[in-house]
Symmetry: D2
Subunit: 260 residues, 4 copies
C-alpha cells in the first residue's frame, strides 16, 4: 500500500508537534510510601515533523506506550522519549502525562487515616532546541482564610477551598510528596477527605489563626521552592474559589532560579 | 434524491427522542428589569420517532430555531414545540434551553451595583404522554457557613461557596428573579461580583450569625416553594464546595405539591 | 462537644438524599480477563434524612469507603449500602461510582493488541421505596457513517465518533464486556486505540458498507438488550459528534422489559 | 478600617499576576456584518504586585469592568488596561476575554442561512516587559477527511470534526471573520449548523475530493497567515476528534514572522 505520510508536503513548513492527544491509559507511578501506585492517565505524545514529510505515523506512538505497559516512572520517561524520536524519525519528542495521585493522610487530632487526591502532570521533552527538560506539575487543594475579612469583621472570616498549582524543573529527583507538604504548609490549613469532630475544630481554629491571601500563599511557596537546590525553575499559581463571590481570586509568579 | 430517512426501520422500535443536541445560539429572554436580555444558549431539540420511520430530519430543527430568531420567551416556547411536532410529523416534542442570566445586584452597605450571573435552563415538553410540561431550572451560587464548625470552635467557622439548583413546574408565570431571592434568603449569605470593604465586613458577620448546613438550606427553600401557589412540583439540591475537604457536601429533595 | 447534627431541624422536611459528592478514590473492579482491575473512581454516597434530624454525619461515609479499601465489586456493593443505612441511621442508601474501565482489544487484521477505555458507572440503591436496585451504565465510543450522506453522494460519506450510553437494571450479573460487544456490533464500526494501515483500510471499508443512523444504532441495541433475560429495564442513547455540523445528532429510548 | 492589603508582605517576592479570574459578564464586540454583537464572556483581569504590597484590591477590577459596561471592542481594550494600571498602582496589566462569536453562514447549494458559533479569546497585556501586546484567538470547527484512509481503501474514507485554534499578534486590526475564512479554506470542508440534502451531498463529495491530514491543514494555514502583513506572530494547532479512535490526532506550529 502507498505510504501517504511519506509523500512530500504541499507546503514546506516544519511542524513543532504532531502526534496523539488525550489517550487514556492505566499507568504505574512511583509512590514514596508503597513503591508503586496504580492510577490512570491522560497522555499526549508529540514529535516534530520536518518540512519534507507530509504526515507522521500515529499508530507508532501507541505501540511505544503499549511496549512500556504504562510504566511511567521517572527513570522510564527518558527511554520513552528516545524511542519516540527513533521510531518516528524525529529530532524532538514531547510527552505529557496527567494523572490523579493518591496519598494517605492522617487527621490532625483523631489520627484517622483517609485518602487524598492530588492531580499531577509530567511534561517531558527531549531534543527540542537546546536540552532535555522535565516539568513536574502538582495541584494541591488547600483552605485559605481571608486576612482582610478577619481584620475588619467583629466575628468570623470568609474562607474557601483554593487550588494551588506548582510546576518545577529539576536537576535531580524530587518527591511529589515533598512539594505537597510545602504547599500545604503555606495555606491557612490543608484539607482532608475525613475529619472527625475534634479535627474539624482544630482545622477551623488553625485557619482562623493563620489567615492567608492568595498573594501570601504564592509568595511563601516561591521562597521555599527557591531554597530547594535541585530546582532550576518554578511557577506557582493559586486560584481561590471565593466564598463571597462567584469568581476566583488569583495570584501567580514564575521564576528562573539562578544557581552559582 | 432518495429519502433514506423515510425508509422502513430494520428494527421496529418506537424511539422516545431523536433530534439535535448542544446547538449554541444567541437568544433573547424576558428580564424583570429591562424587558429583554440578550444572552447565549445551549439548545437541544427532540421529537419522538415511531417505529415505521427510519430517521428524523435533523435540518428541520435548526430551521425552526432560525425562524424564531432566538426569541426564547416563555410565550414563544409553546408555539416552537407545536411547530416541531408539525414539521417533524411527531406526537411529542421536547426542548432544552440552557443559558446564563445576568442580574444587577446592589452591594448591601456601599450600595455599589454589579452584575451577577445565574445559570438557568428551560425544559419544555409537549404531548409526551399526558400533558404539556415546563420545568424552569435556576442555579444560584451562595455562601454557606457550617453550624457544626461554629459550635465546636472557639473562633471562626469554615464556610464556602455552594451551588443551589432549583427546578420547578408551574401552572403560571414565575419570575426567575423571585426564585433567586428565595434561595439567597435561605443561605448564610448571598454572593456578589463586587463588594467594598464595608460590604465584606457585613457579609462576613452576616454569614457568621447565620450558619446553615446544606440540609438547612434545602429544607427552608422547600418550605418556601410549597407556599407559592403556582408551583405544582419542585426539586431542590445544594452542593457545598467544602473548604475543609476536596469533595462536596450534598442535600436534595423533590416533591409533588398537592393542591386542593 | 455539642452534636449540632442531632438538633431538631427548623423546618420539618424529610430529605431524599444527603451525603458526600465527587469523592475521588482508587478502586478495584472485577475484570473478565484479569479477575481484578485497578482504576480510579468518582464516588457519591447519600442516605435519606428524616425530618427530626438536622444534619447527617458526613465523615461516616468516608469511613465506610475506607473500611472497604475501594473494593467496588458487585458482591461488595450490597454490604456497603447496608452499612451506610446502619451507620447513618437511615432507611435508604444510594451509591454512585463512576470509573474508566480498560479492556485490551485486538486490531481486526494486524492482530495488534491495544487498550481501549470505556467510562462506566454503577448506581446502586437500597430501601428507597420498594426494593433494591442496581443500574450499570456503560459508555461506548463507536464510529457511525451516515446512510443518507452515502445514498445521495457520488463518492464518500460523512462519518464521525459517536458515544453510546447504555444503562441496564438486571436481576443477575451481566459482564460490562458483553454490553460493550453488543453496542460495538450495532455501530458502523467499533474504534481502537491502535490500528495499523491494513486495519485502517478494513475499518474504513467496513463502516462504508455498514451505514447507520443514530436511530439505527439505538434500535438495534434496544432489540438485543430485550433478548437478554437478566435485564428488566434499559435505556440507550447515542450522541453523534457530527463531522458536518458543530452540534450532535441524538437518539434515545428507555424501556421496562416485561418478563413473564 | 485597617487596609490589610497595604501592609508589608512577609516574603519579599514580586508577583507577576494578581487579580480576578473567571468573571462571567455580558459583553458587546465588533461584528463585520452588524457593527455590534451581544454575547457573554468569561473574563480574567490581572496586574503585577511589587514586593512591598501585601495584597491587591480585588473589587477595583470589577469596578473598571462595570464602568465600561462590557464594551469589549478592540479600541476599548487599551484604555481598560491603562485604567487597571492606574487604579491598582501597577506597572503591568493583563486581560483575557473569552466569548462565543456568532456568524450567519449560507449553505453552499440551497443558500439557506444559519448561525455558526466560533469560540474566541482576546489576550491583551500592557507594560509587562517591553511593549503592549494583543493576541487574538479563534477556534474554528471544521471537517477533515483522512488522505491515508482514502488512498488505501477501496471505498469511503474516515472523516471527523476537527477544532483548529489560531492565535495571532498583529500590528493593525484584523477581522475575526477573515481568520475564520482562511481556516475553513484549509480544511476538507467547513461545517454548518443547517444543511439541506443537496448541501450534504455537496459537502460529502467536497470533503472526499479534498482529503487533509491535521498536518496539511496546519501547514496551509501557517503559510497563509505569513502572507498577512499585519501579523507579527502566530500559532496554529488542530485537534482531530478521530472517528476511528477514542483519542485525537494533533498538529501544531508557532512562528515569529520576520518583517523587513
Amino acid at each position: 500500500m502507498n505510504d501517504v505520510q511519506k509523500e512530500t508536503a504541499e507546503h514546506e513548513v516544519d511542524l513543532d508537534k504532531v502526534g496523539v492527544k488525550d489517550v487514556r491509559y492505566p499507568i504505574d507511578v512511583l509512590d514514596k510510601e508503597n513503591d508503586i501506585q496504580h492510577t490512570v492517565a491522560n497522555i499526549s505524545m508529540y514529535v516534530d515533523l520536518p518540512r519534507h514529510f507530509r504526515g507522521t505515523h500515529m499508530s507508532r506512538f501507541i505501540e511505544i506506550l503499549d511496549r512500556h505497559r504504562g510504566r511511567m516512572t521517572l527513570d522510564n520517561i527518558g527511554p520513552i522519549l528516545t524511542e519516540m524520536k527513533e521510531k518516528l524519525d524525529a529530532k524532538s519528542a514531547h510527552l505529557e502525562i496527567a494523572f490523579p495521585y493518591f496519598i494517605e493522610k492522617t487527621a490532625p487530632v483523631s489520627g484517622q487515616k483517609s485518602i487524598m487526591v492530588y492531580d499531577c502532570k509530567l511534561i517531558a521533552s527531549q531534543g527540542g532546541g537546546d536540552h532535555d527538560e522535565l516539568i513536574v506539575e502538582v495541584n494541591v487543594p488547600v483552605m485559605s482564610l481571608c486576612p482582610c475579612s478577619k481584620e475588619i469583621s467583629d466575628r468570623g472570616a470568609h474562607n474557601q477551598r483554593s487550588l494551588v498549582t506548582v510546576r518545577i524543573k529539576t536537576e535531580a529527583f524530587v518527591w511529589i510528596e515533598d512539594i505537597i507538604d510545602l504547599v500545604e504548609g503555606a495555606a491557612s490549613s490543608d484539607v482532608y477527605a475525613l475529619l472527625k469532630r475534634e479535627d474539624e475544630k482544630y482545622i477551623t481554629e488553625k485557619a482562623y489563626d493563620n489567615p492567608r491571601f492568595a498573594e501570601d500563599m504564592v509568595r511563601q511557596i516561591a521562597v521555599e521552592l527557591e531554597n530547594i537546590s535541585e530546582i532550576t525553575w518554578f511557577s506557582v499559581e493559586t486560584e481561590n474559589y471565593e466564598s463571597i463571590h462567584n469568581h476566583s481570586a488569583y495570584a501567580a509568579v514564575s521564576r528562573q532560579v539562578k544557581r552559582s
